[in-house]
């Protein structure tokens, strides 16, 4: 039995908060070092969310809506320290190098907003943050709007080649991966991205299926914090993903 198999059942209990005592402590310790088990835990949590859907039916009383909105109005804006998300939503934006620029720009914007919080009044701060957010949205519009044209230029008479671009910011545990011209896959299969660390086994960094044009993307897949990447690679795996590569590497690349 592999180490991952050994923890498989405990992970399910953990996802339900039904694992206690020494077993939980032991698994907590294992999770700090095992990306594959952390990923499986996230999947199991998503499975428990499905279970929750079986309760659907009852609806809250009408008064609950106003009660909530009154509470929100009384409370006002959340403290700024809580505004800073651990993983910025615009991390998913991206197309080629622009994606990385946006991610970095946003990081700077967040830090800037935090600094301003110590100086500006609450209302001024909110207005400034909104203005900066609007500027970022304007920059990102050609990247995120569905109707935007996306064109890859290659040398004349060169047939399109599969290509992947990974933008990885280790300090923020943020990864954006964009692929183009990827061949279609057999049923039940998907491409899986691997982060090859400086030492140790490849770490799963998300699965994707290309669209009809061969494009695909991954944004901020679950990864161990602070992992230094030596390279990235792509294999074909089952569509649910695999904790370790089970097929030959199709594409790979190290830092530019």
């Amino acid at each position: 039995m592999s180490e991952h198999e050994q923890y498989a059942e405990d992970l399910a209990l953990y996802a339900l908060d039904a694992l206690l005592g020494d077993d939980r402590a032991k698994l907590d310790q294992h999770l700090t070092a095992c990306a594959a088990c952390r990923l499986e835990l996230e999947r199991l949590r998503a499975d428990t969310a499905l279970l929750a859907m079986s309760a659907m039916g009852p609806r809250p009383p009408q008064r609950a809506r106003q009660r909530l909105l009154d509470a929100v109005a009384r409370e006002g804006r959340a403290p700024l320290a809580h505004d800073v998300s651990r993983r910025p939503w615009w991390g998913w934006l991206g197309w080629a190098a622009t994606a990385a620029v946006i991610v970095f720009a946003l990081s700077l914007w967040q830090e800037n907003a935090l600094l301003r919080a110590t100086l500006a009044s609450a209302s001024g701060r909110q207005a400034e943050s909104a203005r900066q957010l609007e500027e970022l949205r304007k920059i990102a519009a050609p990247i995120i709007e569905p109707e935007a044209q996306r064109v890859t230029l290659v040398a004349t008479k060169t047939p399109p080649q599969p290509q992947g671009k990974a933008f990885y910011l280790r300090s923020r545990n943020s990864l954006v991966f964009l692929a183009s011209n990827m061949p279609a896959l057999p049923p039940q299969k998907a491409y899986e991205l691997w982060l090859i660390p400086m030492s140790g086994s490849p770490v799963p960094a998300g699965v994707f299926k290309p669209d009809a044009h061969g494009s695909g993307s991954l944004v901020n897949p679950p990864l161990p914090a602070g992992l230094e990447a030596k390279a990235f690679a792509i294999t074909i795996e089952n569509e649910s993903g695999s904790p370790t590569p089970t097929s030959p590497i199709l594409m790979s690349g190290a830092g530019e």
Binding site: A12, L13, R87
Partner: protein, 182 residues
């Protein structure tokens, strides 16, 4: 462009962006879209309409105060809210302080549950899967999920070995997962 494990649901992204900007209208949108999920889950755990409404208020206000806790790039808001609500309701049921910080609730690969139609379809599908499970397996899963029992409490209640309970619970969750992969 297709993406997975980073799949964005535009409606969720719009709501969370609004919450981050302090837009109270986004809170109304959040309520209109997902209050039925949150309330139904809380009511199923607590069995009391007043207590369920309190949990609903608490969960939504938590997200208002800390909108960064949910990452729109990593799954559906409906799934995330369902997990957070269930955890909070179990804490309330067991009269204990919240054990899980909402920032620690990370999900991946949740199916698209963005609208009322998707939620209704998912509910029907889950009920079908649960209905097809062996009674002992369904019971173990439901005791753990809806009553917040530990595996040892379930083993004691049912008279089954611990290992059997563990196996049943995991197999039940995997059966649900597979039903949504087809």
């Amino acid at each position: 462009m297709s993406s997975s494990r980073g799949q964005i649901i535009p409606a969720d992204l719009t709501i969370v962006t609004g919450l981050k900007a302090g837009d109270q209208g986004a809170m109304a949108d959040l309520y209109d879209r997902y209050s039925s999920v949150v309330y139904a889950v809380a009511l199923r755990v607590l069995g009391d309409t007043g207590a369920a409404e309190d949990v609903l208020q608490e969960v939504f206000l938590q997200l208002w105060r800390n909108p960064g806790a949910f990452d729109a790039a990593r799954g559906s808001l409906a799934s995330w809210l369902a997990v957070v609500t269930r955890n909070r309701a179990i804490d309330s049921l067991r009269k204990r302080h919240p054990e899980t910080d909402i920032e620690d609730v990370v999900l991946s690969i949740a199916p698209d549950l963005a609208g009322a139609a998707e939620l209704a379809r998912a509910a029907e599908k889950v009920r079908g899967v649960m209905g097809s499970m062996a009674p002992a397996q369904r019971s173990a899963l439901e005791l753990a999920y809806w009553e917040g029992m530990s595996h040892s409490e379930i083993a004691e209640k049912t008279g089954e070995p611990l290992g059997t309970i563990k196996t049943r619970i995991r197999a039940g969750l995997i059966a649900l997962r597979k039903a949504f992969q087809t």
